[in-house]
Amino acid sequence: MELTTVWFLLIAVLWTGYFVLEGFDFGVGILLPVLGRDEAERGTLVRSIGPVWDGNEVWLLVAGGATFAAFPEWYATLFSGFYLPLFLILLALIVRGVALEYRSKSDGTRGWDRAFFWGSLGPAFLWGVAFANIVRGVPLDAAHEYTGGLLTLLNPYALLGGLATLALFTLHGAVFTALKTTGELRDRARTAARWAGLAALVLGGAFLLITQLMTGTAGTWVSVAVAAAGIAGALVATLRGRDGWAFAANAAAIVAVTVTLFGGLWPDVMPALDPANSLTVHNAASTPYTLGVMTWVAAIFTPVVLAYQAWTYWVFRRRLTVTR
């Protein structure tokens, strides 16, 4: 396999990891005002992701760094082109991170909980908008510079993509909460999972179907089907009280959604409206030497990272009870 392909796959894996892991962090934040009726419950919700959210967020930073190293042209075009949406995502991640760390250390938690909610909702929606635009294609000039404006990015298809990821991550947070808590909190999370699951099926289904018709290949029909089955499976498992299966099914759905997006993208990394200006894995990539070096680094360290992150989840595997 060509190294450019390897790195396209690796970056897809990093985004997949980010969406699967931080996806439920976002969902917990979005559901905080709905599920947490009092301070003790909200504290429990926040503690359910407390030990892991920071490690989950690093997947994004590594995805960004890997894009910079492996596809500098992609990194440069994407981040300068999607300037204002990225700025909003960064602000959201800042206030969200600070809210998570500071809420219990401050005298009042109300403001922090609001920051946590908006800081989770914003990126959950905006990542969908961003990826929908990447897949759909944006105006690029011959130097690969983005020539559109902010409104170019806010097209109906992209907004649908945003709603789809928002629903999917909310569902992910709901099934995660059901898995990690007991009693009333768990009951409420399962109710929320039903509503979020329906929304994810409708919005995610519509978004994936359009995406498939627009950019899909024979292979991505499989991932679209897996995504739909995953969401449906999460719903069924929730109804039957099988929290672990529900979480696993929805994680598979998120993997399948990411596979659909990246599968439709290949071999472009950022298609332009005028295909002559598109960024592909070839014209956006670093030199074979750099890709080779980075492949060695990734081959050695990715398994190590996966091992200790998995161990973290094992250490904190128990359900949390609300302590008042």
């Binding site: 504290g43 503690r47 407390g50 030990p51 892991v52 959210w53 920071d54 490690g55 690093v58 930073l61 590594v62 960004g64 760094g65 894009t67 910079f68 190293a69 492996a70 596809f71 500098p72 042209e73 990194y75 440069a76 075009t77 981040f79 300068s80 300037y83 204002l84 990225l86 700025f87 960064l90 602000l91 991640l93 800042i94 991170g97 600070v98 998570l100 760390e101 500071y102 809420r103 219990s104 250390k105 401050s106 510079e145 983005y146 670093s286 030199t287 030497y289 750099t290 070096v293 980075m294 680094v297 990734a298 360290f301 990272v305 200790y308 992150q309 973290t312 250490v315 904190f316 302590t323």
Partner: protein, 462 residues
């Protein structure tokens, strides 16, 4: 202001702000790990309470370092896309390595440390804080390797076909002599920062005669660390200055307001310059000081701004190759001055607390509290110096800052984000300082020592 100016302000503000938290994180992570190790070895409950007290302040600071660090990684692409295209092949590698090798380690094991008090065996739990601390330090190494490459590019070739810099030797980049000199300087600076913080906070508590045993222990440990690290800062800084004289002579000349090439050059203490005419009105000097500093000989030749400018015009074509001389001159001087004061404070503190004594007069307590600010000033001025001194280059000798900015962005966008980041950062700074003060006033928790095995809510959790 145009896009270039705004982007430069944005990079300056976000970077300086980020680096207020980073050194304290680097240094405190190791100090806290050290305190926990002391508890593990001795079983003395005072060390456990120290671990938790300083650990909590460490976490408050760490949070800010993390969230402001995300901006750092993304703004290369956002505001400096031409730069990213030009150097991505070289510069991206250390950034990606930092994420994969260091940042994952730091974040994951810190989560385990915070929440793992009652879930992990003691020995394993101790290992988690050390792994987090090691991750933090490795992280600094890769970031400095990336920055050092901009100061002194190595291990690359310019591809005439694509017009970009391409990596040819990753080891050359990772063992760049500039990195090898910068890394210890920054790390020692971080230990001075964390040391001065612990000294200042401890002195404040000691002045109120609170927990004197615990805070005396903290202060003594921090005094030793600070003094040793100050010596390290001085030696590594000396090495850096010598490299700089060879690699970036204009930066050294600007740091000294030295206008003409000179042998047996003096070290300037106070100068009033006339940038337009390329000379100084007033210049108080320590004779031979600069030659000694930059070449280790009394009669070494140091190049001056006007001469370097003339040479650069021949090499790189017409243009102004001088950085903002006044800013470079004063940031360099004040960096050294504030750093030296922090070292002297540690020396005085060690003398006053020798053989079990307590500093009697209030003046030391006050000085120690004020002293918290010294390394922060020195760190900030150090970065301002090293980045301003490189101008007009973004990558020394290869790419000018004016050519590095995103060509597609407009003033409105960059102004929006500049104002947005600055406002949010300002609000968070107020909140962070208030939180730190709250927990400093509160002091170490009593029950930590008594109920250390009780599996209630972990003391450091949310």
């Amino acid at each position: 202001m145009d896009v270039l100016d705004l982007s430069r302000w944005q990079f300056g503000i976000t970077t300086v702000y980020h680096f207020l938290f980073v050194p304290l994180t680097i240094g405190l992570s190791v100090l806290v790990a050290g305190f926990q190790t002391a508890w593990h070895r001795t079983g003395d409950a005072a060390y456990l309470r120290m671990t938790k007290f300083w650990g909590r302040l460490f976490l408050i600071n760490f949070a800010m370092g993390v969230v402001t660090g995300i901006v750092q990684e993304f703004q290369f692409g956002m505001n400096w896309s031409a730069y990213s295209r030009f150097v991505g092949d070289v510069f991206g590698a250390p950034l990606a390595m930092e994420g994969l090798m260091a940042f994952f380690l730091e974040s994951t094991f810190l989560g385990l440390w915070i929440f793992g008090w009652d879930k992990l065996p003691k020995r394993v739990h101790l290992a988690t804080i050390w792994l987090a601390a090691i991750g933090t330090n490795i992280s600094a190494y890769f970031i400095l390797a990336a920055n050092s490459w901009m100061q002194h590019p190595v291990g690359y070739r310019l591809n005439p076909a694509t017009g970009r810099a391409e990596l040819t030797d990753i080891w050359a980049v990772l063992t760049n002599v500039t990195t090898l000199a910068t890394f210890p300087h920054v790390i020692f600076g971080a230990f001075v920062t964390a040391g001065a913080f612990v000294i200042g906070v401890s002195a404040w508590q000691l002045a109120r005669e609170r927990e004197t045993d615990l805070f005396r222990k903290s202060a003594r440990a921090a005094l030793v660390v600070t003094l040793a690290a100050s010596a390290g800062v001085a030696f590594s800084g000396h090495w850096q200055a010598q490299l700089m004289t060879r690699q970036q002579p204009m930066k050294m000349a600007a740091a000294e307001a030295l206008w003409e090439d000179e042998t047996s050059a003096g070290f300037s203490v106070f100068a009033v310059g006339d940038v337009e005419n390329g000379r100084n009105h007033i210049n108080l000097q320590i004779p031979y000081g600069l030659s000694l500093l930059s070449t280790n000989t009394l009669d070494g030749k140091v190049e001056g701004i006007n001469d370097i400018q003339a040479r650069y015009e021949k090499t790189y074509g017409p243009g102004d190759y001088r950085p903002v001389v006044g800013l470079a001159y004063w940031s360099f001087r004040l960096m050294i001055g504030f750093g030296a004061l922090a070292g002297l404070l540690a020396l005085a503190g060690l003398w006053l607390t020798r053989r079990g004594r307590m500093p009697a007069g209030p003046w030391f307590h006050r000085a120690a509290v004020l002293g918290i600010g010294l390394p922060f000033l020195a760190n900030t001025l150090g970065w301002i110096f090293t980045e301003v001194g490189r101008q007009p280059w973004t990558v020394f000798g290869m790419m000018r800052t004016a050519a590095a900015v995103s060509p597609g962005s407009d003033v409105g966008e960059v102004a929006t984000t500049l104002v947005g980041f600055t406002l949010v950062y300002a609000v968070l700074a107020v909140i962070e300082v208030r939180l730190l003060l709250k927990f400093i006033r509160k002091g170490p928790e009593l029950e930590d020592a008594v109920h250390e095995d009780e599996p209630a809510l972990p003391a450091l959790s949310y």
